[in-house]
Symmetry: C2
Subunit: 500 residues, 2 copies
Amino acid sequence: MPSAAKDPYSSLREELYRVYLLKTTLGLLDWDQQVNLPRNSADLRSEQSSLLAALHHDAFTSRRVEKALDAMESINSPSGNDQSVVTRLVRRDFDRAKRLPRKFVSEKTEHQSRSYHAWAMARENDDFAYFAPYLEKTLELAKEESALQGFDRNPYDYHIDIHDPGLNAEKVESLFSALKAPLTELVGLLIDSQAESKPELFRGFPVSHQERFALLVTEKMGFDYSRGRLDRSVHPFCAGDGSDTRMTTRFDPDNPLDSLFSAVHETGHGLYSQGLPRDEAATPLGEAVGMAVHESQSRLWENQVARGRAFWRHFAPVYYKYFHEQLRSVSDDDFYLAVNHVSINPIRVDSDEATYNLHIMLRFELEKALFDGQLSVRDLPGEWNRLCLSIIGLEPKNDTEGVLQDIHWSGGAFGYFPSYALGNMIAAQLWYRVIEDIPALESNFAEGDFAPLLDWLRKNIHRHGRRYDTEELVKRATGKAISPEPLLRYLRERYLPPYT
Amino acid sequence: MPSAAKDPYSSLREELYRVYLLKTTLGLLDWDQQVNLPRNSADLRSEQSSLLAALHHDAFTSRRVEKALDAMESINSPSGNDQSVVTRLVRRDFDRAKRLPRKFVSEKTEHQSRSYHAWAMARENDDFAYFAPYLEKTLELAKEESALQGFDRNPYDYHIDIHDPGLNAEKVESLFSALKAPLTELVGLLIDSQAESKPELFRGFPVSHQERFALLVTEKMGFDYSRGRLDRSVHPFCAGDGSDTRMTTRFDPDNPLDSLFSAVHETGHGLYSQGLPRDEAATPLGEAVGMAVHESQSRLWENQVARGRAFWRHFAPVYYKYFHEQLRSVSDDDFYLAVNHVSINPIRVDSDEATYNLHIMLRFELEKALFDGQLSVRDLPGEWNRLCLSIIGLEPKNDTEGVLQDIHWSGGAFGYFPSYALGNMIAAQLWYRVIEDIPALESNFAEGDFAPLLDWLRKNIHRHGRRYDTEELVKRATGKAISPEPLLRYLRERYLPPYT
């Protein structure tokens, strides 16, 4: 081999870096669409994004990537070292991308965009029938994609796996059924027993103060604003990677806790992104393992940390300084009750952290049935309402607050919902492990020191990237398989009197 | 020819559209860099931009564009019709792009981004030596580019031409020398004769009010906010095209007029962008002819319009309502004096519209000398200070308010500065033509009606895109060659007593 030849791993990394630049550019187009785009500029943006998506796909499935992979595989490096992990994971992604014909990809992209608009319209007019044919087609394409990937007999599993590598419907089912009965019982108990919260106390919080407080809190949590931002959007989200992490929240003068917890939640995502190995940003070692783990990070900060007494022991004095006027008639107990209020609500995103999981189980049942062929799209609204009553205990007034409430299915994101509840389970499981490892953790919080928690997460979760699949990562971090028990324990400790 | 074959013009337009999508994506990366980018995320951005610039270059210089151009040229359509104008201009751009090797383009883009950050750092620390090696490299690349384009003997001309097609150093020199003596005399006269302005009267203008007033004014001027935005950046600018026009300004509580005139200025640019034929966005017929004409639009709105009595006859009552407190002790005359104050200032962007042109002459002399090889980058700060004293009449205290003040050279934008003074000349020339064509123009302004002016500009400037070169466009719009006379007349009428 001539001495000037690049070693195969450098070649692979170089190709992946080019793919990464296209992916992050596409990410910026999307962020900008949600944060800045003028209302009549959407056509140009969708054409820019669709071109960039095609360029990204072409770059990743190129002959050069394939050759670099082949070369790496012929080396046969020891399994478990960085090179072999990267090669194995990129090969999996590459093969999956290759199995989708270009025509299928562009048909899917085009359909998704039309389906999104149909969903938005249907939701506005509470008209599921208008959306139904689009959803039928989306489901058909999703099944076709599963078949193309070799999941013909268990098509739903493929969609779970792309969100959380290594998981499938059976594993999710088993976790959810262990959670369901005790959670339902618990929710009933605490709805009956909790003192009345007074949301009407939280009115007229100036947005500029809210924003300053959110920046203060999230910076204290450890978010590096020299490599990230906090902006505003209708639906809070976190985009970008560790080189440029872009979080958003929304500010409502009459709902300051929602704004704050949204910011804290997205900061949990942002800290994960910033904790991934930046040198490996373009390889699987620098990517998040999946949505459940991502969600475990946001939920842990939002729920275990920011709804806890220790957190507020530090921040309450500052909060009361910022909002002296507004909080004049709010007692400490009122405040804590507002932070930890449980109520049955038809809307998933407005739900508290306990009942939220019931919303996910509902969607999981429906997705399973849709993929099994036991449920048709036509019968979906009726089945939604029936299951909603049986699982959550109420029936939506209409389809807009029922089957049409979520954006996910409009874009074909089946298999995504389970990640939310799995994230809640993993968050609680990590929490009990970390307070075991660091007994002083909550006294640290009370002093405004969140670094010990962040360091633990960096070491046990963030730094691994996609090296381990979801289940193995949790097992390595906590010593145990994923289980609903820690979540149940946490909810009991948090919500059943005496409050902790 | 088989009936399914696309006609050659449609093929050309299709290719150009793809190029346009890449160009506008690159534009968004740049806008975001100036408005949003976290300070430590610059490396990723410069790599993204460099890749997109290369993809843009590849797409534009592709075999497919060449074939479409060849096909169009073989048709030989009547000169002057849209198809032949587009073909001629795209061929010019194509040949120029082809002459730049891919490696050169990506090296240049990447260097620009790094150089920008070096300049920002140097400026902050008043440390020209830190920036010097970057600037040397930039100048070297600029000369190399001129040579690649066949301008080896007159490298500066190439850089003037890319900003203002058809112009060169000799033509600029001749216009500037006709302007210099009478302008210098005039500035001396009016500095001696003007009443004292009281800038200290303008203090403590809340930024949120300023922003609302700026939105009101710029919307009234005709800017379409459904396809555009006004954001904040350190240096005001206008980016994007008519599909998504992004302007910025800056807000200073103690300098509200600067903020306002910056917004008005950028809106002049924005209105030009929005007035270009949107169906032709991807062809030269939908592009601005050059920077001098662009600047004539911003200057006309900023100076001839927004510094005039008629404009304030409409807006002063609203302004006094927004800033009742702050303006309590400001008389009408004080106000008008503040709007039209002339003073010698080392900073170009803080200068009044009269002395501003002297700043440009200084930069033109230096650029000429840098390209001639008569001046080295090392000697630039000294020469700046010497010329500044001789042309403007003062010496900067340090390099930050001297040679480091402008962003342009950091990005390799040589040949751009002359456009500003040319823009001032053209603005005045258009102004005298438009008030001849529309005698009621200023009474329209006083009633808050700016549509007649915008319509005139749409018809005489905007709708032509790049159909005519700078000089021909001005001649068609005003009936006369570009001349410094209207600018001198305007400055005398505006600034010498009795004020008009």
